[in-house]
């Protein structure tokens, strides 16, 4: 039995679990509504008279901050609470398969929600002549960023049996990773710290890496940043599962 077939089994169970309850529907509706509301009303999309999606993508980190932990919170906490954790952990599944299968299911679901924002892409192309290369890069960056937030959420979810606690702690950790690059935080450092320190703080930030991608340049360093965040937190996820095994 290949690991890939096992991965597919775990993935499809998890992915379908989103649709077994109204969760998928509610999430997608709220996701699309929030994306639209922020872009058009808060971001004054029309008043900018710019045929690009800078405003739209600018809100992604902030919306993901709350929406994606909601998607990830059930991944492990729910298993612990319902007792199915014991079933899952005693099936002949390598641990990384369960961790990766769950993560990819959540990531694919987030990707689906993101893909459903396509009408806004159609809109800018109808209204003007945007740089579709930049938009494509931004979508890719947004998807990578979603992966990083979900990996954080999955790791936190594996540490508790309470989805609400998983949600709140994940939001806080995601928030820390988001704001380290915001002017609010950087200004605090800029006043006294050497430039190298400011850049180091900023380099931990989801915001600055995402902003770099939305300018239309997919720099390998930004891609690497998001992939290493994902790797780091999935590693933490496995470590937490191992520690819990010790009782």
């Amino acid at each position: 039995m290949s690991s890939l077939a096992l991965l597919r089994a775990v993935f499809s169970r998890e992915f379908r679990a989103y649709f077994a309850t109204p969760l998928a529907f509610v999430f997608i509706v709220i996701f699309l509504f929030a994306m639209g509301a922020f872009t058009f009303y808060v971001g004054n999309f029309y008043d900018n008279e710019q045929a690009d999606l800078t405003v739209f993508f600018g809100y992604h980190p902030w919306l993901y901050l709350f929406l994606l932990p909601a998607l990830a919170m059930r991944l492990w906490a729910e298993e612990t609470r319902s007792g199915t954790m014991e079933l899952l952990m005693t099936l002949p599944l390598p641990q990384w398969v369960s961790v990766a299968g769950k993560f990819f299911a959540a990531w694919a679901f987030a990707g689906l929600a993101l893909a459903l924002t396509f009408p806004i892409w159609v809109t800018v192309n109808y209204l003007g002549d945007p740089d579709n290369g930049v938009i494509l890069a931004s979508y890719a960056g947004s998807f990578l960023m979603a992966g990083a937030y979900l990996a954080i959420g999955a790791a936190v979810s594996s540490a508790t049996s309470n989805p609400v606690i998983a949600f709140i702690v994940a939001v806080v950790i995601c928030f820390l990773f988001t704001i380290t690059g915001a002017p609010l935080v950087l200004n605090l450092f800029q006043a006294w710290a050497p430039l190298a320190v400011v850049q180091a703080v900023s380099s931990f930030s989801v915001l600055s890496h995402f902003a770099a991608i939305t300018r239309g340049v997919i720099d390998l360093r930004d891609v690497f940043y998001f992939l290493s965040l994902i790797g780091l937190f999935l590693g933490a996820n496995m470590l937490i599962l191992d520690l819990r095994k010790g009782g």
Binding site: T21, E86, L87, T90, L91, P92, L93, K245
Partner: protein, 238 residues
């Protein structure tokens, strides 16, 4: 088939299982008896690789559960305490998932297990809407699906009505000859009904190991209840 060696598990200051040694062979139906908190479930959790022991180990069909967990886990079917299952799935979907994880996706193993556990009527209803009896049978079907040489069942008939209990015991009896089955329970009549051997656990250690009939004969009344009570309440006079 099953060898447990010096298995020990502590939770903080409490030693849940202490230096436990136990083995069971093919054709044996071993009942593990004990009051709540005796360490039965903890033993099963270590035996199946869900919990890591503080010391000692267990081997299932010669595969060490700690160093060769996946190979060991392929050898047994496990019904955890409370028969957990994914409530949002139907028994058909759930058993198909277990079959795919067990590498049996393209066989009719799931259908066979479902019919052995008489799940036909509820195959397409979400598990969370099923009665306790059906849920337990879904858990049992999941455990026997890959026809494993070893079955580990934690309170398989807890919460079932007398007819359902009878059906589950019949099922266990039909499988007994070619398997090694460990049943944890605090229902004494179960031991007399299906087990070929019984051990009584108390405070993490085994206090008795014999056939149910032998155990029962240790009490003047000849009843297993009295032996159980005498052994697990500190009164060894019986």
């Amino acid at each position: 088939m099953i060898e447990i060696q010096n298995l020990t598990k502590r939770f903080g200051a409490v030693t849940a299982v202490r230096e436990l040694n136990l083995s069971a062979g093919r054709g044996e139906v071993l009942g593990v008896l004990g009051p709540n908190g005796a360490g039965k479930s903890t033993t099963m959790k270590m035996l199946t690789g869900y919990l890591a022991p503080d010391s000692g180990t267990a081997r299932i069909c010669d595969h060490d559960i700690q160093t060769d967990a996946l190979a060991a886990q392929r050898m047994f079917g496990y019904l955890p305490e409370g028969a957990p299952a994914y409530g949002d799935m139907t028994p058909r979907e759930f058993l198909a998932f277990i079959a795919s994880v067990r590498g049996l996706a393209k066989t009719d193993a799931a259908a066979k297990a479902a019919s052995a556990c008489e799940l036909g009527a509820v195959l397409d209803r979400p598990i969370e809407t099923l009665s306790k009896g059906f849920r337990r049978r879904v858990g049992l079907a999941q455990a026997i699906l890959h026809n494993p040489p070893v079955l580990i069942l934690d309170e398989p008939t807890d919460g079932l009505d007398p007819n359902q209990k009878h059906a589950v015991r019949e099922l266990i009896r039909t499988m007994a000859a070619e398997k090694t089955i460990i049943i944890s329970t605090h229902i004494l009549e179960e031991v007399e009904a299906v087990c070929s051997r019984a051990v009584i656990m108390d405070h993490g250690v085994i206090v008795a190991d014999a056939t149910p009939a032998e155990l029962a004969s240790r009490a003047p009344s000849g009843r297993l209840d009295d032996v159980f009570r005498a052994m697990t309440t500190g009164d060894r006079a019986a």
